[in-house]
């Protein structure tokens, strides 16, 4: 458990609102990367991360840190992303208009993420992975979660998670091969 996170939570428990800004600055980018890569939909990803931050702020006075703060926030984002994907799948099954999936890349004046070309390619490639691999890759890379923690979250064995990560990374490597500098 990071000492700084413990102190941030401690400050929030005692009414120091300034700690919110630090939590936000510290984890915003990785949570946005995680959500965007899991969903492949920038708008929904932004909404989810925003909601997770706001909900965390609402709980912060009584929040008890038992593991990693980043892992906690990443799990919240991953849960919401999973639910969003399931909801989108249900809608797609009942509506032809929704059948194009969760993509909604319409330009918006309220857009939050300004992604680099590298981010766009990585996000697109990760979001094309099978769901289980995508979850493992994003939670491990952007949530800094250990395989054991991800195994608990996915309710599977640690070996399965390691395999999913390995396969996911192979796929990323093959697609992004030309992007990586030696």
């Amino acid at each position: 458990m990071h000492a700084e996170d413990r102190m941030l939570v401690w400050r929030l428990n005692r009414g120091d609102a300034r700690a919110l800004s630090r939590v936000y600055e510290k984890y915003r980018d990785d949570l946005l990367r995680l959500a965007a890569s899991m969903l492949g939909d920038r708008g929904t990803a932004e909404d989810i991360v925003q909601d997770v931050f706001v909900r965390f702020a609402g709980l912060a006075r009584t929040f008890r840190l038992t593991g990693s703060l980043k892992g906690y926030l990443a799990t919240c984002v991953a849960n919401a992303a999973r639910n969003s994907l399931k909801a989108a799948q249900r809608r797609a099954a009942t509506s032809l208009n929704e059948a194009t999936g969760v993509q909604s890349e319409m330009p918006s004046p309220e857009r939050w993420i300004i992604g680099s070309e590298q981010f766009e390619r990585v996000s697109r490639t990760v979001s094309s992975l099978p769901a289980e691999q995508r979850e493992v890759v994003t939670l491990h890379l952007y949530g800094d979660m250990r395989f054991r923690e991800i195994a608990d979250w996915q309710k599977t064995s640690i070996k399965t998670v390691q395999s999913r990560y390995r396969y996911g990374l192979e796929k990323l490597r093959s697609v992004l091969n030309g992007e990586v500098e030696e």
């Binding site: 009414g15 609102a17 931050f53 990586v180 030696e182």
Partner: protein, 291 residues
């Protein structure tokens, strides 16, 4: 094929930026959610509140006006009840209160005199403030030699004197100490001879690492010092409490003070402590030196 570490690094550190306007909006929503969370309002923690509670604790401990409340929440700690009970017979006290916001901050001093009949006089910075029954009567700026609006914190302190219902020892002890004061004299005073003279009570907060320590005289049971400390940021309050003969009534009289405010031969020191008499007969003001 690229090394595995490189692909991880490439994906993990893909540059990303955010719109400042959206950052402000999200942070604004976070702060609103934080402020709206009810636990906070119930617990009442915060630096400003902590400072107010600290001063209230000093006043109430010194004044001993809420013995019943404290006795109830001290869980039958008779020794501490004795301490506060003793105060009921104290007609006058002076407290010098130093408060610092964090470890590196310069402390701000509040000087508080209380007399019979609900009279109070405070000095903070260049202001001298007169109060009675929890109301500020008049406030003066010594440097500018004029009547002014009272310093908000000082006005708050005067107000605390009249609202035991809101700022009872019950509130303070629940908030700061979680309701228990423990006699820690043996641990504090390993030298037996010192322990015979002084009794020390500690209270550790149930909801924070903050603590309060009260020093009292063993025989008379009079509290003489108090420290409140927040180890997270070094917020602290130190108070020294003195008891002596009561000051003359003119000391608490704002009209008498106002009449002397514009006297050319009155220095800042002379006005800050105008009419104050040292019970031991020592000089307090420049005027005393000349008499």
């Amino acid at each position: 094929m690229k090394p595995r570490d490189d692909i991880e690094r490439f994906a993990k550190h893909a540059p990303i930026h955010t719109h400042e306007m959206m950052d402000k909006r999200v942070l604004g929503r976070m702060h609103q959610a934080y402020e709206d969370s009810t636990h906070w309002h119930a617990a009442g923690w915060g630096r400003a509140w902590m400072a107010r509670v600290a001063v209230a604790a000093v006043i109430l401990i010194a004044a001993g006006t809420l013995v019943d409340h404290f006795t109830h929440f001290s869980g039958g700690n008779v020794a501490w009840a004795d301490v506060t009970q003793r105060f009921e017979s104290v007609p006058f006290f002076y407290a010098s209160i130093y408060m610092k916001e964090d470890a590196l901050a310069e402390p701000r001093q509040f000087e508080l005199w209380m007399g019979r009949g609900g009279y109070a006089r405070l000095r903070v910075g260049p202001q001298v403030i007169f109060g009675r029954d929890g109301q500020v009567i008049r406030a003066f700026d010594i440097r500018r030699r004029c009547e002014v609006a009272p310093d908000p914190t000082a006005a708050d302190i005067v107000g605390i004197l009249a609202i035991p219902g809101e700022f009872s020892l019950e509130t303070i002890i629940q908030s700061i100490s979680g309701g228990k004061l423990v006699d820690v004299t043996p641990a504090m005073n390993t030298h037996a001879a010192i322990g015979e003279d002084l009794v020390v009570f500690d209270a550790q907060s149930a909801i924070s690492p903050g603590w309060v320590r009260v020093y009292a005289l063993r025989e008379s049971r009079l509290p003489v010092g108090l420290r409140i400390w927040d180890p997270a940021e070094g917020f602290g309050v130190d108070a020294l409490i003195n008891y002596a003969k009561e000051q003359p009534q003119v000391f608490f009289d704002p009209q008498a003070f106002a009449e002397r405010l514009h006297e050319a031969d009155n220095t800042d020191a002379g006005l800050a402590y105008l009419f104050l008499k040292d019970p031991g007969g020592l000089d307090v003001t420049p005027t005393d030196l000349l008499e």
